[in-house]
């Protein structure tokens, strides 16, 4: 059982560079989320998706874009990286249709991103 897989695990970028973080889940979950985690700030929601082909803004969406072309994948893009985007990024998924109504979010192991 792979669960939620994030790639890459680590990355160092220069200011202005772009990159895409990939999240893949094999639990047939409808909902997927991207968070960033910073010291003293807790987990903050960047964007989320309630199904294939849908995306929505979370708490801190500026500077990020997302796409959910396939149900199992959720991509997070940084078009022009800034030092303020240095963080640990977590992907999570939840809710298998037909299962019990209340289901927890399951997390990937995170991507540590440094922007110089």
């Amino acid at each position: 059982n792979a669960g939620v897989t994030q790639t890459p695990k680590f990355r160092v970028l220069k200011t202005g560079q772009s990159m895409t973080l990939l999240c893949a889940q094999d639990m047939n979950h409808e909902y997927m989320y991207w968070y960033r985690q910073d010291p003293g700030m807790g987990l903050r929601l960047i964007h989320y998706s309630v199904g294939e082909g849908t995306t929505a803004k979370g708490e801190v969406p500026d500077g990020y874009n997302v796409s959910r072309l396939k149900k199992q994948n959720f991509l997070l893009g940084l078009e022009s990286a800034a030092p303020s985007q240095t963080s640990v990024y977590f992907c999570a998924s939840s809710y298998e249709r037909g299962a019990q109504d209340n289901q927890p979010q399951h997390f990937g192991d995170g991507t540590r991103l440094s922007i110089l």
Partner: protein
Amino acid sequence: EDKVVQSPLSLVVHEGDTVTLNCSYEVTNFRSLLWYKQEKKAPTFLFMLTSSGIEKKSGRLSSILDKKELFSILNITATQTGDSAVYLCAVGHAGNNRKLIWGLGTSLAVNP
């Protein structure tokens, strides 16, 4: 504004001690309250609570919810060094996006 507040922010205990972690919330349209444990990597799910007064238990960990007073506690008995972690509390909205409102966590250090 919805918020989840955890206390204490950090705690240092000795092996064998019992600890109680607190989570209070002000969230409209409450659906559930969740506890997670985070060591070096991903938060891992511990408990989900939806009803008041029903204790959830897993080994030395237990948790209970009070929907009237809007709080939950997580108890860990006979602590071990492997319990050292950040414990996160989150509250789920009843809306159909299933978003979670997160607390900042309690950092627990268990010394031998």
